[in-house]
């Protein structure tokens, strides 16, 4: 397993980390601080979102708590021209790609099924709720990059690649296997990033895979690398190198980031029914944020930095809360206009019917 920072924050690269070290060495002190700030910010956002759900503002929340190291590190491993296909827990990556996180709130509040457009959000695609489906969309997109010749030109500033995220549960889906087959067959510029958070709702990863997931790719012709997902430096270095390789035309790769889902699957789930306190404590001890904090403090980072980060994260969360309270419901009539891009008689008839039905109530107000 590739690891640069031990759980206590000590910099001690594992043997497997050697080939990725040049990527770590590119990072500056400012990058370390940026990684830290992003991890703290998204965790604070995540907590706020759970609170908003508990207070009845959202139908559901999907916590990312514990997975910030895998997400922030890999997010910075992609370049701005790359395309990112998330599952539905990739809040940190959405934030780093510039998506207004209020859009994720709207998704969980029942305002939209999407909320943003990848063409206006630095190539960050919509969350996909059917497990593993996006692996094929990402593969098709990467095939398009290949057909367009927008990779392997030798210019890393313009060459493109795709990174697709899914979890350990998704590796059992046929679509993920088919994506690996298609990707290998076409030698697409693409990285499959698996966040192994050890749980598919209540089912442990041992039910999905009897061999480590990073070895799953090998039989498909997609080489795999296992990385400590709670080590943001290792996640960054491995992703940056393999994305560079993909962009350079070396074919697809698979990354298994070992991490843990500290909260329940969603706010509708109760994790105490199926997992032990001791399991949880073991992983809390490997937390990605406290690990980087120990590293930064050891390097002599001033306490005021940490205080400022927490203050700005609280401001970020407060802003999300304030704006959540002002979100208005969508217009039912507009839904008929969004199903097709060309006019469609059924949509027009049903929209007109609803308008007439509503109007029939006169001043009494409509049913909707």
């Amino acid at each position: 397993m590739v690891q640069l920072l031990g759980p206590d924050g000590t910099f001690a690269p594992s043997a497997a980390a050697e080939e990725f070290l040049p990527y770590f060495e590119r990072l500056t002190e400012a990058d370390y601080r940026k990684f830290f700030k992003d991890m703290v910010t998204v965790r604070r956002f995540d907590t706020e979102s759970t609170n908003l759900q508990r207070q009845g503002q959202l139908g559901l929340w999907v916590p990312s708590h514990g997975q910030e190291g895998a997400q922030v590190g890999s997010a910075y491993g992609a370049r701005s021209q790359d395309h990112v296909f998330p599952a539905y827990r990739e809040h940190a990556i959405a934030m780093i790609r510039g998506v207004d996180l209020l859009n994720l709130i709207k998704l969980m509040k029942g305002i939209t099924h999407g909320g943003f457009d990848f063409r206006e959000n630095n190539n960050f695609h919509l969350y996909t709720l059917v497990i593993g489906s996006q692996a094929l969309h990402a593969t098709g997109y990467a095939m398009g990059i290949k057909f367009d010749g927008d990779y392997a030109t030798g210019n890393p500033e313009t060459d493109q690649a795709v990174i697709v995220y899914f979890g350990d549960g998704a590796t059992s889906q046929g679509d993920v296997s088919e994506a690996l087959v298609f990707s290998a067959s076409q030698q697409t510029p693409q990285v499959f990033f698996v966040q192994n958070n050890h749980w598919a709702i209540s089912v442990p990863v041992s039910v999905q895979a009897r061999v480590p997931i990073y070895r799953r790719g090998e039989g498909f012709g997609v080489p795999g690398t296992q990385v400590d997902g709670n080590d943001v430096f290792a996640s960054y270095a491995v992703t940056a190198k393999l994305m560079d390789d993909a962009r350079a035309g070396k074919g697809p790769a698979l990354i298994e980031a070992m991490t843990y889902r500290i909260q329940a699957h969603t706010t509708s789930d109760d994790a105490t029914r199926y997992r032990s306190e001791s399991d949880l404590e073991e992983w809390i001890a490997k937390d990605p944020i406290s690990r980087l904090e120990a590293f930064l403090r050891d390097k002599g980072t001033d306490s005021s930095f940490f205080a400022e980060v927490h203050e700005s994260a609280a401001d970020f969360a407060a802003d999300i809360r304030n704006r959540t309270l002002t979100v208005t419901n969508p217009d039912i009539y507009e839904t008929f206009d969004k199903v097709y891009t060309h006019p469609h008689p059924l949509m027009e008839e049903q929209k007109a019917w609803l308008q007439a039905y509503e109007a029939s109530f006169g001043d009494e107000g409509g049913a909707a």
Partner: protein, 326 residues
Amino acid sequence: MTIENMPLGKAINAGLRKALADNDKVLLMGEDIGKLGGVFRITEGLQAEFGTSRVFDTPLAESGIVGSAIGLAMRGYRPVCEIQFDGFIYPAFDQITSQLAKMTFRHEGKLAMPVVIRVPYGGHIGAVEHHQESNEAYFAHTAGLRLVSPSNPHDAYWMIQEAIASDDPVLFFEPKSRYWPKGDVNLAGNPTPLHSARVARAGTDVTLVGHGAMVTMLLQAAEIAQEEGTSVEVIDLRSLSPVDYPTILESVRKTGRVVVAQEASQNVSLGSEVAATITERAFYSLEAPVLRVSGFDTPFPPAKLETIFLPDADRILDAVDRVLSY
């Protein structure tokens, strides 16, 4: 001369060739469509002409074909997927109904999904299980998809090009038993709008409605009925979703009697939907209930029984007699 006589299969091939030549974003993808030209030879010669990055064999996985076509469409391509046989589309059902159909809606109507899925469908070819199904109702039920089905070479040539030009996903149901008979194709002039029905034969006493290979059967029935003194109008639906109701209702208001025929099983079928809509919208024009003639609600039987399972001209004429008896 702009009129050419050719089989329906060749007409689709010619339409695909034209679409590939007109727009370099058009791609053909599927199983065995490259060197082999497809198991029905519909893509014959196209890989040699346009190259392996425009016309390519995929791995043998239908969900992979449709799912990766979605990604290609996001990139600006216009993929045309071939599903080898009707009964092999189900592995792709999730990508078609949960992803392809809903992708535009998920993007607030702003993302086009110009994906065409070609499906050779229907019986009368004496094949083994899973090779003769008429499963259009599953897809007609799904918001976000468009479905069309040509019945003759001329429509096939034009409709495949219109389907590829659509920015919405289109399932293109090809009546495989009609691949070989020839018909005239007018290669010039404006095509009929994709989602309009066609009056295939004018008549005054009874309206017959159907699509794909069933249209040939309806025309045969109409010919026999004519000899017996009944004037039958035949409507070729062409578009299965949306259905062109104005054309159907105009005919119903004239004849007052309707038979809807289909190879598909009857329960919750497209024919049932058409019958219900006619009843709702033209009740006072009807002299009799709208009758349906369909495949039975058994699985498609072994091939030696298919001519009994599938409606033929006699079963259609039986329904014509019944609809006239009211």
